[in-house]
């Protein structure tokens, strides 16, 4: 097994780069980071729309979230693969096709995480801001969202782990990423599938486990720091951080 890693670590780490497209673990991480960075603003908008007092804002947002929750990620990926190039009028690389699918799919799940964060805040926060003369949007932007986003940080890391796991499905449409690199390696070596797929699984495990553990650590830290502050003791139930995790 070590021999396989020694001979092929470049392929597994960065794919064919610089002689071909970037692939391997680096591409997997870049895909997940780009997906999260682009999905995040969309998710905040969706979450805010979902708790809006106006039904004509909250209903469409709820519909989007439910439709995405009811669709397999692979279907979203194929839509991104076929429809995005038609919509933007030019061909799209595998990398951006996958990022597009991640943004479409994850925005809905992230929005639910952020919504849970907002709804877990004590009502007094909003009331205090409103009585200080802040309008709806200033209350949201300066008082509610900063606290809600900070409190949902562990859940957001959990969601990032989901994104990393979802990038593996790029394999199905031949996007250059880690799983694809390993499958290439497997068909090159032919006779060592156990070794190759064990390397693949262990590497994903190390990356994702490190992240989930740090999310747990952060969650405890945040819970402690909130308990420590006087006057907030009666606040909010703890939201279950992995409850909405979408997961392949």
């Amino acid at each position: 097994m070590l021999e396989i890693i020694q001979n092929n670590w470049m392929l597994l780490l960065i794919g064919q780069y610089p002689n071909g497209p970037l692939g391997g673990i680096v591409a997997t991480l870049l895909l997940a980071i780009a997906g999260l960075a682009l999905a995040f603003p969309v998710a905040v908008l969706l979450a805010v729309a979902r708790i809006s007092p106006f039904r004509w804002v909250s209903l469409p947002a709820a519909a989007i979230v439910h439709v995405v929750r009811g669709t397999p990620f692979l279907m979203v990926l194929f839509w991104s693969y076929f429809a995005l190039p038609v919509l933007i009028g030019r061909p799209l690389s595998g990398f951006w096709t996958l990022v597009g699918a991640l943004v479409l799919y994850e925005s809905a799940y992230l929005a639910e995480v952020i919504r849970a964060g907002i709804q877990a805040l004590p009502k007094g926060q909003e009331e205090a801001a409103r009585s200080l003369g802040f309008g709806y949007f200033r209350t949201l932007a300066l008082v509610i969202l900063p606290q809600a986003l900070y409190n949902s940080l562990p859940a957001l890391i959990g969601q990032f782990v989901s994104l990393i796991k979802e990038t593996s499905l790029g394999y199905v449409i031949s996007v250059n990423e880690f799983t694809y690199a390993a499958a290439q390696l497997n068909s090159q070596l032919l006779v060592q599938p156990v070794e190759v797929f064990t390397i693949l699984a262990i590497t994903y495990f190390i990356i994702c486990f490190t992240l989930t553990q740090s999310a747990r650590w952060l969650e405890q830290r945040i819970a402690r720091s909130r308990q420590g502050r006087p006057g907030r003791r009666e606040a909010q139930p703890q939201t279950d951080i992995l409850a909405t995790e979408p997961m392949p």
Binding site: G70, T71, P248
Partner: protein, 232 residues
Amino acid sequence: MGYEFDFSAVLTDQYIDWLLAGLRVTLLLTAGAWALSFVVGTALAVLRATGFRPAVWFVSTFVEIHQNIPLLVQILFWYFAMPEILPESWREWLNRNNSEFILAMIAIALCHAAYISEALRSGLRAVPVTQYEAGRSFGFNYIQTMAYIVVPQALRLSIPPLVNHSLLLFKNTSIAIAIGVHELTYQTRQIDSDTFRTFEIFLVATVLYLVLSFIIMAVGNLAERRLGMGVR
């Protein structure tokens, strides 16, 4: 966009047969994996609840491994690597009996069993200790207390996450396309490459998935309303 939708090209008798065949495999895969994952998940949760150190260690390792590796990688592992490890006779049996389907079902079931055992565990922890104490003081022994008092409440408390994971399991059966299981997504692609009516056939398939997902969500809501414990 100037694209002319033409559903009559994809909804001929032949393609409807293909779709229905795919739907059948998707439903079979969902049902098989769901049943297996609930059996394994419950067994894991019970093992963990015993508090016996090696058992707890085994269950938490199982859970972490299955939650931190992509399901696709688990399916690929079962398909490409597992048959090499299994004894010769098992491999022959698998090859004779539609190995893709069985291996995909096992991989999906074990992965989701990890999530289900976690959902059950948090349900068990949410039942107040006084319930257990009350059961014991009525003269029930440990097993009776668990079976008649604690577990039924824990199950009801876990309905929302269990429904959530059932839905995810159903959606994740589409990943079995990666090893060539002839489920709904696979048949959709077949029809697509046969007719080049990409948007129509993917629209039909997406609506099929959505309808089934909404049925699962509705059944979940019903179960939650009929059996759930409400907010405590």
